[in-house]
Symmetry: C2
Subunit: 336 residues, 2 copies
Amino acid sequence: MVDGKKLKKQIIHIFKKHGLSNKHADIASSAIINAEIVGAHTHGLSRLKMYCDRIKKKVINSKPKIKIKKISQSISHIDANNSIGFVAADIGIKQAIINAKKTGIGLVGIKNSGHYGLSGYYAEQAVKKNLIVLCFTNAPPAVAPHGSRKKLFGTNPICFGSPTSSKTPFILDTSVSEINRGKIRVAAKTGKKIPAGVALDKFGKPTTDAKKALLGVQLPLGGFRGSGLAWMVDILSGVMTGANHGGKVKDPFDDFSGPQNVGHMFLTIKPNLFVGNFNEKIKQNIKRVKGLPKIKGVKEILYPGQNKQKRFKKNVNKKIYIPENIKNDLESLIAS
Amino acid sequence: MVDGKKLKKQIIHIFKKHGLSNKHADIASSAIINAEIVGAHTHGLSRLKMYCDRIKKKVINSKPKIKIKKISQSISHIDANNSIGFVAADIGIKQAIINAKKTGIGLVGIKNSGHYGLSGYYAEQAVKKNLIVLCFTNAPPAVAPHGSRKKLFGTNPICFGSPTSSKTPFILDTSVSEINRGKIRVAAKTGKKIPAGVALDKFGKPTTDAKKALLGVQLPLGGFRGSGLAWMVDILSGVMTGANHGGKVKDPFDDFSGPQNVGHMFLTIKPNLFVGNFNEKIKQNIKRVKGLPKIKGVKEILYPGQNKQKRFKKNVNKKIYIPENIKNDLESLIAS
């Protein structure tokens, strides 16, 4: 267990040792700590060594010259120059916020970026500025297109955020695979079976064996539906922005042959463009859903983002648990 | 079997008899005929009597004064004055196309509308003008929010369109329920079971009995994922536009107590905002996915919209089959 502030200082120290500026080290560390606090450990410290390895191998650029091209008052294009993804996304969402505040709608396309952690982390920034937001990013191959037995799409999350009139924002941050890869990993470790219809083995046969699933491919949510949504995300964040797409985004853990060239697309909209009382309306909307009769065993109907906010509040002032292997990574990164 | 052109004339005649202008009757008839041609019979002739009944009961306004409010060069708000949904959506998508052609991005929110048929029909209009498009619409309660045993969200489709560099547009038009209501209806008629996990009976218990499912609720795609997506669509098309939302959109078949007040949101984007060679890139993208090894039994990996386009080509010059009950509706509407 480590104190969050102390841990953040350590991570900043590590990133600076790897050549990141004070500012970029701070942005990246904040995103990693936030992922740990909200319990998204797959997007936090477990990736720190990978980021550092990529910086060392020069497939993440520690001194990027990030270019922001203004297309219009509403629209910007960012070439992140292979920066660490956190920094590209942070600059991107801030630009999208500026654009929407100015014109009512903001659109920012980003190319030459990398894995940026949790989409919801950026969506939250926009919602805190009282904006509706959509975040799209592509990712390395993980999901087989509908009809195929080979992975090509990333888990390509769709992330939507909205103000709620309360302090807990509505943040939907969902991958388009049937289940999260993390769940398959846990099942493989504990020797449990995974549900039917969520994965294929390496020969393209349906499997409920978690270990075989990890060697095979994940299936998209609802067959053609999830496959289509993953494809949509690839078009918006990859094809449109000039980033890699169509299965060409490199795996950050395994492929050091070049930068990932992940693409992101952020859309921001003022919620009160059409109605004066958005806050009142969204409050009513949420109240109606929450007031519905519940399925047996369900205590409360939650909107997306509520659970994460609960975890954040619970953990923000607590010490952060670090597994043994990551502790070793951390120590060697500090010592190196 | 009826000739498509003759049938269209009949439908125009019927709508005009019910007070629609030449232009509005033509728009509505074209949408209905298109649904029949692409095989979406649930969105075609089977709804004609309902539309006419709603006009008669004055819950669809046959002579709407549709107001288009310009918020900016990119953004418009439409009050459809309870027009038939087809007309509101047709005006909406045309405005969204104009806005995007002018500024690179168009956003149109529509309130006081009704059921507009297939989202893909409007998305196609934008794609044919070489635009990327997202269409959202809410709908009467059909899907239970995650954790609830009562329906509140509509099937709230997400529709995304993109140019493909070929004549067949990429049109993803997917509801966010586990399976289409139509499939449950067919299962009920043929006495077949429905898959587990797609519906609850009227007591909130999971059921595989199609008849019980029809009296109960449909479940959202992937639990919280589909529920969150349906909620997102309700916020974008309902809460933001000033339309009904949170389960208040009226069922067009059963509830004649007032206009439906459905809301729509259309977003249009120039595909070449950030890259000069979008066409080449999307062509490559599609080629890569289509070239993947296939699951046994799959002949071709299709992108969303290809199947529909195939049906369109096959049927466009064929006569249209009309079931007996709809034939009776049609005859009595013509005679009345």
